[in-house]
Symmetry: none
Subunit: 204 residues, 4 copies
Amino acid sequence: MPTKGERTRQMIVQRSAELFNTYGYSGTSLSDIIEHTGIQKGGIYRYFNGKEQIAAEAFAYAIDMRVRQIRDIIYSDTDAVERLTTISRTLLDIDTPPVITGGCPIMNAAIEADDGLPELASVRAEAEHGMTTLLGGVRRVVTQGIEGGELSPNIDPDGVASVLVSTCEGAIMLAKLQHNNAHRERVLSHLADYLVGLRLPDRS
Amino acid sequence: MPTKGERTRQMIVQRSAELFNTYGYSGTSLSDIIEHTGIQKGGIYRYFNGKEQIAAEAFAYAIDMRVRQIRDIIYSDTDAVERLTTISRTLLDIDTPPVITGGCPIMNAAIEADDGLPELASVRAEAEHGMTTLLGGVRRVVTQGIEGGELSPNIDPDGVASVLVSTCEGAIMLAKLQHNNAHRERVLSHLADYLVGLRLPDRS
Amino acid sequence: MPTKGERTRQMIVQRSAELFNTYGYSGTSLSDIIEHTGIQKGGIYRYFNGKEQIAAEAFAYAIDMRVRQIRDIIYSDTDAVERLTTISRTLLDIDTPPVITGGCPIMNAAIEADDGLPELASVRAEAEHGMTTLLGGVRRVVTQGIEGGELSPNIDPDGVASVLVSTCEGAIMLAKLQHNNAHRERVLSHLADYLVGLRLPDRS
Amino acid sequence: MPTKGERTRQMIVQRSAELFNTYGYSGTSLSDIIEHTGIQKGGIYRYFNGKEQIAAEAFAYAIDMRVRQIRDIIYSDTDAVERLTTISRTLLDIDTPPVITGGCPIMNAAIEADDGLPELASVRAEAEHGMTTLLGGVRRVVTQGIEGGELSPNIDPDGVASVLVSTCEGAIMLAKLQHNNAHRERVLSHLADYLVGLRLPDRS
DNA sequence: ACCTGCGGGACCGCCCGTTCGT
DNA sequence: ACGAACGGGCGGTCCCGCAGGT
């Protein structure tokens, strides 16, 4: 069992992950963290050297959750189209509650770290890695599908990855902005059609 | 001809629009604005009541540029598929240089204003209106296409709008984050195929 | 006439010089400076980038005052022994009110900067230069005295400088610590005897 | 033999004495003490009520070492001039390594406590007492010398004490600041001459 | 029973957004 | 259009007490 301090530390990471994922780095103040964790500044400082480190770990934590989620699907035991569809559903948070409030943590972290703030350099690396994992995962599933004779060999795996990820991430934001989940559904329906269309015509 | 003060004011709006669109509201300080405009604090406060108002006008200005761009296409004199494709190309900033650095101003403004910061309420309204215009424009083109017999009547205009906008906005971010414009091209190619597929099979 | 801001800035330097000279760098807080200047934090920040810069200028100012005082004596038009005696009287602040409260600014600055605090590096340089000027000034007067036939050629100018400065600086502290100016008088009397003893015996 | 806790406590005092003597009270943090002693916060608080008490005992310890050193000389069995010279040599740390790094603890404690910080009241008392002992010791040796017929009866013991102590303390600082021990030697040479000059001319 | 480890609270220096006189 | 000054809030760090694990 983890020590009490370890639990407190973890709690701080989780709670601030939501804050950072929702309001961004400069939009989240230490006071906000104090309020949402119930831990005072001195207590927080015990575990972290500063806001920067909290943000780094919080973003890393959120990204990691997302990456695990996707990875589980990629290595699951179904055909390629189903796996790609499930990835889309998951990215869109359609079946299950979101892993974290505030939208896709990979995209958010990347946006946040893209402003050139030097204190978010490690976050940027983390986000880049997460995004690479995401894109690479899609690509890998497509490649396996082609090799397994399920998908048409003319398909460009990079293209599928770009389309799938772009569309889902775009829809997440659109849905969030307009407070309208219909965007998710419509986009998922489109993607499902698109993915099915990648199948080799059955010769049987 | 605008007075000198009018021109100064306009210059402040334009310059800060780039800053806000790139670094966000809380990521942009008055000092940054001073630096990028060459106008001192007192001068800025001559024209604006505060950072909030500058941001409001700057975002409005950027959104307006984007909206005009799209509107011009919507009312242009070509068939629906071509207009939709051109909208996609434009959203993706593929042919022309971006209207403003830092990505799509409508999406950025919306993201920025979505955090619940009360001082960005007007920005939020502006962004929502811009996004509605964008989605509505796509929908209108689709509807016209259906009515004109160009597009299949089974098409859901809302669906096309969601897909087109989501995909483009998602790709913009992906491209920006990975510093890789290939995402734009791949997504455009996908959208072009998709849009062509909306056509009624030609009976002739 | 200096601008209003220039005067304010100078006032801040002078007032904080007293504080720093009395309480030291870490013993002086911005609140103290605010209190003693009547200028608020924002107003101070207008002129200085932080406590460090205030301290640098304040110490430099205080050192400079001391150095000027001594330099005036060195270049005055009297014999060597009188000049050396006057330097002693001045260092000891016997005739005139001290140029600044809190003791000799050169010694204080040097002590302060000697702890290895990196933010006081420039202060250290300034203090070193001031001390060098002081010692060098004494040496120069002695050398002139020897060359002019007033002082015995056997005298080591470096020795006189070390003795005069050490004794005065030590006495200042002793007097301050024990709140007893008798130390100054006794030491001055000793130094006066010592300096007279440096004269070449008159052959006439 | 002291108990283990007693030894730990003593070790803390000694180690922090060096820190306080070098960096001063506000320049020494509990973290520094923890680092230099290897004892954790809880361990330190077992023996001391806080930084204030540590400082008090540390300064007292350092002062006491100095005072003992001087007292041993005062009560030694030689003539007055030799004892006074030895006091000077000792104050200047010329023959032996310093009792503690960072300069004369009596002077340092006095300087430190002179800023009016209320938490250093006891340190101030200790320093004042140490300085009084030092001055009184010199005075006593002089008085004994006069009474014993070694020194001229015209001599003012207070004057000698002021001169000797001021000069030595001043030289310590000068040497430390300029990283130049020549000041010590020159000043010692001067003092030796001065002290010899206090002798009654030998009638024999 | 100890004392480490957890957490509290205060304050510091910094910087920002703002107002006002000129 | 500028320069001067304000005041609040941020992030950071310190010194310290108290409760809970060994």
